[in-house]
Symmetry: D2
Subunit: 319 residues, 4 copies
């Protein structure tokens, strides 16, 4: 193995940059040439890539986003797209790929590997923390702290004006961010895709709180479980109380990665290079309990089970 | 003058707490008794108030929101409401009021003063910075930095995924926050109530940028100038390019006040007590050019003119 | 078990407040009375304690420090001190103790338990992350992010002025904070108590970097491995290059706890109450790999081994 | 005027990067060529400079430090140095200079202008806010908020452990930062170069506070008024109470510029180009009361008077 390529694909996550830095610098340290592919699989299809050196990744360790840019690329799911990507691989003498991304990326990488046998190691990066077999993905910790910071601010005004807020956080299929920040923010309720909404119970708690003098309320809603405006309207209809909504949205994607997101990214970048050198492929890397774990792509892309009850019960008991 | 009361009214703004602290501690230092009224004018109408001491305001200097809580109170615009408020004033031997709030509060205070002759000094606190005759209000600097921090984060993902964002910030009647953060965030365009939207020009710039390789774009929209979703849809219709929206909303109201918001609040709190002691009334206090300024309530509540052209032109030139 | 008491002892750590909140609210939920003891063991000796209710812990979830205050208390290591503490326990009908703190606290708790048989469960809170058998303690994640934020800022000026910095971080006996932030901050070197300083190697790297154009340099020093000023002087003597120092100090103790520190604290608070109810005692609780772990006090207070080599090597390879 | 050069000199300040961005982009907009000089006057002497374009300053608006790097350069105060700098100016056809820096830079620029008649406009950038005739310099607001953030964190531990802290902030000749953060942080005392230290009064207040139950104390010390360790020792000697010290140091130089620092920098960058185009020279630009002000270099470098009494008295009254 003489030359590898690194790319970031799917939704960006804070920590992708330190992961790139680690792949590049550790790769060079291991006598590899490292190419950077721009805009994920699209860049492989369109041969947008270049050799990176030590300096190419200077100063990016603390930056959000990804200097290689990223994209969602449906073309890579087509035969034609995969063929062109493979041509780029051959033409540029790329012996292995490091794909930093989430489920969609790993699924595509798996198909590509099966067909063209190009060694590929994934690094789990996704703010949603939704990759099966992996406790924590790059970016999750940062996104959670960003959302928590926003919720702390909303708490200030919720308390001062005694208002009910529905705050929508990211998580299309996973309530992980919602549960984590609802607990950490001392929020009064949380609605997630993994648990059916019991609107009556939500409203009962609000009205009961109101009667005993608890006038402010923050309900965290995972985007996969509904729209903030809809839920707010339902609550107002049922309780007769005013509600306000906040949709945190893409703010959660950006920002300087936390220490945890960075250290994980740096460790996984090195590990991905080690795996390629050891002949491993078709696997995603993540952290479980502070240790690096290798999960077959096929397993990683399965639906991740989230144990919601402990979280949920603790949230309800502590408010 | 032996006893004064302090209250926070209207929308909360970061810095109200240090203002309260200053009124209370400086008032006590000046041998006054200081009462805190809860929930703004509502608390005066409903006699929800209590004596505050030095310790009552310990540890609040860095907290967002207001420990006295606040509310919008239409009842205080009625004869009956004003009468009940006056009864509270008399019954509790309150010789003067400090009202920390914005335009609506000052307008109400002015009416109340005209009718019942209770000395009242206002402290300009409003994240919108929309009080006439006053350069900067308590809370504006904090809100702007909160919005800027969000825009910096959105920039990370906008650049990484090469997307067009419409980011809606606060400012129902004023484009001040929008202009300030658009400039500071290096944003590509800004839409404000003070300037008619030229949708064609906005879209032309985007398409032109696209052609010369500028793929990411952040347009800041003041809430008073439209809805983010509407604008985004119009842009997509006209340009054929995908757009994303973020509505920052109430996050901008909260958070630890900045040094600027705190120091201003502490200075104005003292000044308000000094004004009452000097027999001044029916005025709002704010900062102009680092100096405390007194503005008659009647003047303060007029529409504030904002010089938008310098800002706007600089934003367009620098992107 | 009808009544328990909670206290915070030793150096404060961000996250102690959410831990208190959890003990109190979950305790009440479990039909217990919960007393708060002020200033750690000192408060037990001097009978400074009071009944806490739901409201006593409102609004503290996001606050640094500890509302119960804390202290180091050598008197509790004496027979007389322990006797008086026990009298407080008896007099107030306290059936169990939750001690939130670090090694010193657990050592004291263990002695007290052995002598007076008062059930006691510890919650591992210490920014140094130095408790044996426990991967992560409350406060560590916050302290690390605070230190990293400072190092990012120092990087700005180090790069702009091309200077060599020695930055001293906390860690009297453990290099954990130093290693973590040195990695996450992209720092050029790290000096820790666990590894003998090779001054020549440090200086060689600096001079070599200098020759190939790398002019700025940040060396992280754990306080347990020396003084920043001393190291800086030695480096200047050996290399002839100017150096600057920063001692981050107590800033690292404060600040709003991160999501990770809060969620851990809330989980451990509940777990501590559950342990007392289940008749467990003489143990410290912490998190390993996302799961709550119980460690005998006797084990917890032993010297914790830190695997430094992976960290250290990665830091050196990546700069 | 066809070509100008921009440089940053002296100590770096957050906001230098947006100032560079503005000079470059507005200069190009005005049909000028803009060169960037590296490492301040040193780069002019050693001909380290290059043409900058729009893209050269992409993405730097929110970054601390300066991408042009900066240095203190005693050689530029010599005849030989100035001569060589002038040769660079001639050889590169530079028609005007924009020098972003502080007092030392302006003093050097003034001498250079007098001797060689190269038009030069300064932009006031200095965290110390010590430039005469100018209310606020670029970087001050950011440095103050950084120091305040640290003090808020120290407050957490000071309150929890009931300790006395001496916190040393920047300000070699000016107490501006110290006064501002002491007020905003609710600190109990402040020691500045402009006011003689009355150690007995400081200690009296501490002991008196101690007697009435106020156990924690933060004293802010401007570096120009003494060393934290010395002051702490003196306090301990006189009061018999333990003290702790924190020296914030270079952390205050770095970090993302605040909205205020950025907007000021962007406005001043444009104004500097306008001044050069209008034939103005030998002046420094800053902001007074929200308006751009031009101050002759000779005036700007005089000792700035700071009105300390209002600040100081307010600090003492409010604690």
């Amino acid at each position: 193995m003489k030359r590898i390529a690194v790319l970031t694909t799917g939704g960006d996550a804070p920590g992708m940059n330190p992961a790139i830095r680690s792949v590049v610098r550790y790769g060079i340290n291991q006598k590899l040439e490292v190419m950077g592919v721009f805009r994920g699989w699209w860049g492989l299809i369109n041969e947008e890539l270049k050799i990176l050196n030590q300096r190419s990744v200077s100063g990016i360790i603390g930056q959000g986003g990804t200097v290689l840019k990223t994209a969602r690329c449906s073309e890579f799911r087509t035969e034609e797209g995969q063929k062109r990507a493979y041509e780029t691989v051959k033409k540029n003498n790329i012996d292995g790929l490091v794909a930093i991304g989430g489920n969609g990326s790993f699924s595509a990488a798996h198909e590509f590997y099966k067909k063209y046998n190009v060694p590929c190691v994934g690094i789990a990066a996704s703010i949603d923390n939704d990759i099966n077999g992996i406790d924590y993905t790059i970016g999750t910790d940062t996104a959670i702290n960003t959302a928590l910071d926003a919720i702390d601010k909303i708490r200030d005004t919720a308390t001062s004006m005694e208002r009910i807020f529905v705050v929508e956080v990211m998580g299309r299929e996973s309530g992980f961010i919602a549960l984590t920040v609802a607990l950490a923010g001392g929020c009064e309720d949380v609605i997630i895709p993994e648990k059916e909404l019991d609107l009556k119970a939500v409203c009962h708690d609000i009205v009961h709180g109101n009667l005993i003098g608890k006038m402010s309320w923050i309900i965290v809603l995972a985007e996969g479980a509904g729209k903030a405006d809809d839920l707010a309207r339902q609550i107002t209809d049922m309780t007769g109380l005013e509600t306000r909504t906040v949709v945190l949205g893409h703010v959660q994607r950006g920002g300087r990665p936390t220490a945890f997101s960075r250290d994980m990214a740096l460790n996984l970048g090195k590990a991905a290079v080690d795996c390629l050198l050891a002949g491993k492929t078709d696997i995603a890397l993540g952290m479980n309990a502070g240790r690096i774990v290798e999960v077959n792509f096929e397993v990683a892309i399965r639906k991740k089970e989230l144990k919601v009850d402990n979280f949920y019960n603790l949230i309800k008991v502590l408010t």
